[in-house]
Symmetry: C2
Subunit: 715 residues, 2 copies
C-alpha cells in the first residue's frame, strides 16, 4: 500500500544517446523519389550533413539516391541504432522483426493505420509493440513524422521540416504528438528567433511517451528549455515527475495541451485516440509539478525567448520604466491581471530617480522617464541602473514603444551596460520596425536582452519567468512530489463495494481525524427529549430510508430547528410525511444532525482520475459556488505547501481571508484536512472510488473545520 509513488514506473534503461546520436540510420521503405515519405529522409540524412551512416532498405532496389540499398534491415553490415519505418502498417510489423535481428535500438514508425483508425488498427499496434518488446526495441510512433537532432544536422523526418535545411540550431527541445501542427510550432518559433536542438514527433506514443522524452531532454546537457504539445498522456504522474525533474535541473517545461473542451475532446478521440482527462486536473498537476501552461504558439515563442536570456527572477516583483505612458499603463494592467507585483521602489531609489528624471517624469513604479530623457542618454542610463539596483525589484521591463534609429541604439547600449552589472531579467517592450532599428535589435540579441512586440506579451513573458522561479523554489524545497513519508495508517475500508450511508461516510472520515458534525439516528419523536441534552441546536431532521431517494420532495427534511419541542414536532412530521408520501418504504428512523452555522462553506472531493489517479478537489461549497465552478485540483498525495497553494488558487479565496468583516478562516486546519484526505486517497486508492465531503465548514482561526456530510463510494 505504501509503495513510493515516485517509483511506480521503473526507470527505463534506455540509452537515449543511440536515439539522438545514432551511428547509423536505416530507412525501411526507402524510395528513389525524394518527395515521397520513404524518399525524403534518405535525401535529408544523406545531404544535410548528418555524420552517421544512412542505409536505405527496399528489396526492389540495389541503390537509392546514390546510396547502397539493402533488402532488409537484417542485411545491413555497419552499425545501425535507429530504423525509420516508412512502409504500410502490416509491413511495419515485419520490419520490427528484421530490426530485432539486426540489434537496432529504436524504431521510428512513420506508418499510419494503427490505433488512430479504430479497433483493428489498435490490435495491430499492440502486435507491433509486443514484437518490439520481444526484441528490446523502443518505438517512437507509430503514426508520427520522425525526429531531428539539429546539433547533428540529423533530419530523420518527412513533411514540413524537410523543407527547412537552414532551421536554426539552439537549446530548445520539443516533443509533439501531432506531427503537422507540432512542426508548425517549431517553424513559427524559429521565425521568432528561437533555435531548436531535438525535435520529436511522437505520434500515437505506443511505447515511448512524452514524459520519457522530457526525461531524456532533462538529461541532455545541450537542452535548456523543454516544449511539449500533447492531446493527452496516459500516465499523468510520469508527466509530473518528468516536469519536476526538469524544473529542479533549472529547465523550464512549456506545455500546450489541446482537446480540452467537450467538442475538442470529441474531435481528439475521433482523430488520434489519445487519452484526455479533465483539463482542470491537468492544470492542477501543472502547478504542482512546475509545468508552465501554454495556450498559443506566440506564447511559446515569447516564453522561450524570455528563458533564452538565462536569467530567473527571485520573486514576482516587477519594475517598469518607459517614456510611453500608454505602454506603462498597459503593462501595469496586464501584470495586475497575471498576479505579478508592481515592485514598491525604496525611498532611496525614488529619491535617486527624482534627481535624474526630467520635471514631468515620475520616479514611482511604473517609472515615467518622459521623452525628454532621450536628449540626455546618461540620465536614461542612470535611471535604468538605479531601478535595477533596487533590492525590491526582481525584474525590469523597459517600455520602448516605437523607439528607433540612433536613440534606440544608444538606449540599448545603456541597457546592456546596466544589465551586465546584475543578474536580474531585463526585457523590452518594443514596437519599432526592424529596419528602423536594425543595429539596436542586433545589439539586444547579441547580449540576450529579449524584446516583445507589445507590453501585453512582455507581461506574459515576465509572468512565465516569475512562475518558473516559484516552481523551481518549491521543487527544490520539497523532498518529494508525492510525499509518503508522513503518511499514517488508515483503517481498512468496509469490504463491500457501493455507496456508504451519510452516517457511515461521516464515521469514516472522522476515523481519519476530520471533525464531523454530530448526528444521532433516532427511532421516533420519543427520543427528542434525550436528544435535546445530547446535541447542540440548531439541528436538522432527515428521514432515513434507503427507499426514499428524494427526501425533500417527500417532506422528509426539516432544517433550522432551534428547540426541543420543535424537534419532537419535526421528527413526528417527517415520519408522518414519509409514510404518507411513500407508503411501504422501509423507514430506518430519523437522522438528527447538529447544523453548522458558522464558517465558510467548502467542499473537498476525491476522484480517481483516469490520467492522474487519486486526485483531490477543493472548492467553495454551496450551490452557487458549484454553478460558478470555483474548484482547484492536486494529485494525491501532497504536502501542506501544496494544500496552501490550492486554497490560494480559488477565485473565492478572499472569503477565507476575512471577507466583509468576517474573521479570517482557519487556513491551517483546512490545509491539514486536505493533506489528510490526499493521503487517504492515495493509501486507499484501490478501494476508494469517490469521496465528497460537502459541505465542510472552515471556522475562524484556531477553530478548525467541521464536515457536515460525506459521500463515500467504494469499489
Amino acid at each position: 500500500m505504501n509503495a513510493d509513488p515516485e517509483r511506480e514506473t521503473p526507470a527505463a534503461a534506455t540509452d537515449w544517446n543511440r536515439l539522438f546520436n545514432p551511428r547509423g540510420i536505416a530507412i525501411v521503405g526507402a524510395s528513389r523519389d525524394p518527395r515521397r515519405i520513404g524518399g525524403q529522409p534518405v535525401k535529408l540524412l544523406s545531404t544535410f550533413g548528418y555524420p552517421g551512416y544512412v542505409y536505405p532498405v527496399n528489396p526492389n532496389h540495389a541503390e537509392i539516391q546514390g546510396l547502397r540499398c539493402y533488402p532488409s534491415v537484417a542485411d545491413i553490415a555497419g552499425p545501425c541504432d535507429v530504423a525509420l519505418i516508412a512502409v504500410n502498417a502490416r509491413a511495419a510489423l515485419e520490419a520490427i522483426h528484421d530490426c530485432g535481428r539486426k540489434g537496432v535500438a529504436f524504431a521510428v514508425v512513420f506508418s499510419s493505420g494503427f490505433r488512430e483508425t479504430g479497433s483493428k488498427g489498435a490490435a495491430l499496434e499492440a502486435q507491433l509493440l509486443a514484437a518490439a518488446r520481444a526484441h528490446g526495441i523502443r518505438i517512437i510512433g507509430p503514426n508520427c513524422q520522425g525526429y531531428l537532432n539539429l546539433a547533428q544536422r540529423m533530419f530523420a523526418t518527412f513533411g514540413v521540416l524537410a523543407l527547412e535545411p537552414e532551421l536554426k540550431e539552439g537549446v530548445v527541445s520539443s516533443v509533439a504528438q501531432s506531427g503537422g501542427f507540432g512542426f508548425g510550432i517549431v517553424t513559427q518559433c524559429e521565425a521568432a528567433g528561437v533555435g531548436f536542438r531535438n525535435i520529436v514527433s511522437s505520434g500515437n506514443e505506443s511505447d515511448i511517451t512524452t514524459p520519457e522524452i522530457l526525461e531524456a531532454y532533462t538529461d541532455d546537457p545541450g537542452t535548456r528549455i523543454l516544449v511539449g504539445y500533447i492531446e493527452g498522456v496516459r500516465d499523468g504522474r510520469a508527466l509530473m515527475r518528468a516536469a519536476q525533474r526538469a524544473v529542479r535541473a533549472g529547465k523550464p517545461v512549456l506545455m500546450w495541451k489541446t482537446g480540452n473542451s467537450d467538442a475538442g475532446k470529441k474531435a481528439s478521440l475521433s482523430h488520434t485516440g489519445a487519452l484526455t482527462g479533465s483539463y482542470d486536473v491537468y492544470r492542477g498537476a501543472y502547478r504542482q509539478a512546475g509545468v508552465l501552461e501554454m495556450r498559443d504558439i506566440d506564447e511559446i515563442s515569447d516564453c522561450a525567448r524570455a528563458f533564452l536570456a538565462g536569467r530567473v527572477p527571485r520573486g514576482k516583483r516587477v519594475a517598469a520604466l518607459g517614456s510611453s505612458a500608454g505602454s506603462c499603463i498597459l503593462f501595469t494592467d496586464r501584470c495586475a491581471e497575471l498576479g505579478l507585483e508592481l515592485a514598491a521602489l525604496t525611498p532611496e531609489t525614488e529619491a535617486a530617480l527624482a534627481a535624474v528624471l526630467p520635471p514631468f517624469g515620475s520616479p514611482r513604479n511604473p517609472v515615467d522617464v518622459t521623452a525628454d530623457i532621450f536628449n540626455d542618454l546618461s540620465a536614461f542610463e542612470r535611471a535604468v541602473e538605479i531601478v535595477l539596483a533596487d533590492p525590491n525589484v526582481d525584474q525590469l521591463a523597459l517600455l520602448y514603444a516605437g523607439l528607433s534609429g540612433d536613440i534606440a541604439l544608444a538606449c540599448n547600449r545603456a541597457v546592456v551596460a546596466a544589465s551586465a552589472k546584475h543578474d536580474k531579467p531585463v526585457m523590452l517592450g518594443w514596437t519599432a520596425r526592424r529596419h528602423r532599428a536594425e543595429e539596436a535589435y542586433a545589439l539586444a540579441e547579441k547580449h540576450g536582452i529579449p524584446y516583445f512586440t507589445s507590453p501585453v506579451r512582455l507581461a506574459n513573458a515576465a509572468r512565465a519567468l516569475a512562475d518558473f522561479a516559484g516552481a523551481r523554489e518549491r521543487a527544490s524545497a520539497r523532498g518529494s512530489l508525492f510525499p509518503t513519508d508522513a503518511i499514517e495508517a488508515f483503517a481498512p475500508l468496509p469490504a463491500a463495494a457501493g455507496t456508504l450511508s451519510e452516517r457511515e461516510g461521516k464515521a469514516l472520515i472522522a476515523s481519519w481525524g476530520i471533525p464531523v458534525s454530530r448526528d444521532v439516528l433516532a427511532q421516533d419523536e420519543k427520543q427528542a427529549h434525550a436528544l435535546t441534552r445530547e446535541l447542540a441546536f440548531p439541528v436538522a431532521v432527515k428521514i432515513c430510508s434507503a427507499d426514499i431517494a428524494h427526501k425533500t420532495e417527500a417532506g422528509g427534511v426539516r432544517l433550522h430547528i432551534q428547540r426541543g419541542e420543535a424537534l419532537a414536532e419535526a421528527m413526528r412530521a417527517v415520519l408522518r410525511n414519509a409514510r404518507e408520501h411513500c407508503p411501504g418504504a422501509r423507514i430506518g428512523g430519523v437522522l438528527v444532525s447538529e447544523m453548522v452555522t458558522d464558517g465558510v462553506e467548502m467542499l473537498i472531493g476525491v476522484t480517481q482520475d483516469p490520467v492522474f489517479g487519486p486526485t483531490v478537489a477543493l472548492g467553495l461549497g454551496g450551490i452557487q459556488a458549484e454553478a460558478l465552478r470555483d474548484v482547484t485540483y492536486r494529485v494525491a498525495p501532497f504536502d501542506l505547501s501544496s494544500a496552501h497553494e490550492m486554497i490560494g488558487e480559488l477565485r473565492g479565496a478572499r472569503l477565507l481571508y476575512g471577507f466583509r468583516n468576517r474573521p479570517p478562516a482557519d487556513l491551517d486546519a483546512l490545509a491539514r484536512t486536505l493533506v489528510c484526505v490526499a493521503q487517504a486517497a492515495w493509501v486507499l486508492r484501490d478501494r476508494l472510488a469517490e469521496l465528497d465531503i460537502n459541505p465542510i465548514f472552515v471556522r475562524s482561526q484556531g477553530q478548525g473545520v467541521i464536515a457536515a456530510d460525506a459521500l463515500v463510494v467504494l469499489r
Copy 2:
C-alpha cells in the same frame, strides 16, 4: 426628467471635411530642422504628396525648408483650415487667438504642459479651450502627436509615423489617446497587412473626443473599420452612441482600453489624467452598444484583417475543415471557450462528404479530410463546396497547418472558387512560412481570404465576426440605445438626502411594482400572536435601532423562526440582547420579516458611474457569489432584450436555467425587474445615488421575483 437620453449632447456642427481634407495647414512653431517637432510636419506635408497649402509660421524666419514662412497665422493669405501648434503651452494660447483671426477651423495642439502636468497645466488647458470656443475653433489635443489622412498623403504629425512615408493606405481609421503607443498599433497592424485611412492622436481630448472622431469616421464613406485606443472617456454614453451608429452603418468598432487595474489606473492618472471608470461597466457598455473589446495589438490586426474580407456571418455556427487533426482540435477547443457553436452539419452534408473523403477521414464537424485528399484536389474542392453550402454553417475555417508549395496554391485556388459562390466568411489557419507558399498567400490576399498563424487566432477572429453580426442585428432591431418611450411615471422621492431604512427602501421599490417580502415593525413580543396570523413562516427577527450598526454581533438577529411561540421568544431575546449589549441605544422596535426560502438568490444594483451615469448591475446574490464577483452591467435605461443579455452573461446563469433538478427560474420576471430598475435609475438619476436590492429571489417560472432587502441612498 424624461429628456431623450440619446440627445443629451447636441450634435456638434463640425465640418470634419475641413479637418481631414484641409485646403491648407499652418505649422505654428515651424522649425528649419526637419528632425524637430516643429520641423517634421513641414517636411512631411511639403514632400510626402499632400496636395494642399503648407504654411510654416515662425516670426524668426522668412523661409523654412524652402517654403515661405509667416510671422503669425493671422498673416497667412491663402486658405487655411488647420493649424498645427508646436510651440510651448503659453505660446499655444496666443496662437489660438491668431488662428481665430485667420478663421482656422481646427487647431491640432502638439504642445504638452497642460492637464497632464497638474493643476496649473489644467488651468492653462481651460484657458486654451475657452479661447478656442470664443473663436469657434475646434481643438485636437493638446499633448497629442497630430493626425494623418493617408488618402491625401497628409502627415500632420511628428514621431514614429513621420518615418513611414510608405505607410499602406486602406479603409481602417483609428483614434488613440496615447500618441506613441497608438502609432505603434498602426505600424504593427500595417506590418500585418492592414491599410489605414485616417489616424488621429487625440491626446488630452480637451475639446474633440474619441466618440466625436468615431462619429466622423462613421460618416466617412472611405472608412470601413474603426479602431480606438483609450485610457478612458469622459462621456461614456457618447462613446456608446457613436459605436451603435457605426455598427448600424455596418462598421465594426474595435476598442482597446487601458488603465483598468487599480495599479494601471494609478499609472494612468499620474500620466495623462484621463478619466477612468470601472472596466466592468465599460465591458457592459461595449456589449450594449456593439463595441468589440480588444486586449492586444495582434488581436486588433487579426480582427481588422477578418473584417477586411467584407463578409459577416449570419450566426455563431462555425464549421472547421482540415487535414491536421491537431489544428482542428485546437480550433474546436478555442471556439468552445469563446462561445462559438460548432455547426451541426446536416445529414445530407455528412453523406455527401463521406462520398468524397478518404476512408480514414471524418465527415463530421470538424471535418477531417486527411492528408490523402491532397493527392486528389478535386475531392478537396468538393469537400469545401459541400460544407460551405450547408445551411447550418455560418462561416468556414480551413485548417491548413504548414501546407506549402504547389499543394497550398492548388488548395487556395479551390477555396477561392468555392468561396466565390457564397457570401459566408471563409478564413484560413496557416503556419506555412511565407516564402514556402508565396503564390498561395498572394492568391488568398488578392481574393480577400484572411489567414492566421494559429488556429487559436483564427478562432478569435471568427468570434469577432460572429459578435459583430450579433451586435449589428441587435442594433438594427432595437429603436433606441437608451429607450425612454415605455418609461412610466415614478413617484417623487423623499426630499431629504441620506440612506432610507430597510422598510422605506422596500416600500420605494414596491411602489415601482417590484414584489417585496412582507415585514412588520413590532414594539415587543406581545404582538407575536397577531403577527402569526399576518405573516407566513419562517420569519426573521431583527432589532431595529439606528444606534446598533452590527446587529448580529449584538445578538439582534434571529433567523428561520418556524412558529408563533418561537417568534415571541425570539423577539424577547433580541430586545434583551440589544439592551444588554448596547445600553442606551434607542430601540425602534423589532422588524419581523417573512423569509424567502425558494428561488435563486440574486442582487440588482444601481450606481451613478462617473463615466456612464446611471448604471444597473446584476449578479448572483449571497456572500459567495459576491466573493466570486459574478456581476454584469448595463447603462440605464435599456430594453428587455438587453436585460436578457445581462442574465445570459453571468457565469452562474445556469443556476437560473434549472440547475441540479431545480425548476427553471422566472427569467422574464427578472428581465422585467431589471428594465424597471433601469428606468427608475434613469428617471430619478438626479436624486438616486445608490440602490442595492440584495437579495432578490428569482422564483420558478411564472412565480416572479421577490426582493428581501433594499438599500437606497439619496443625494
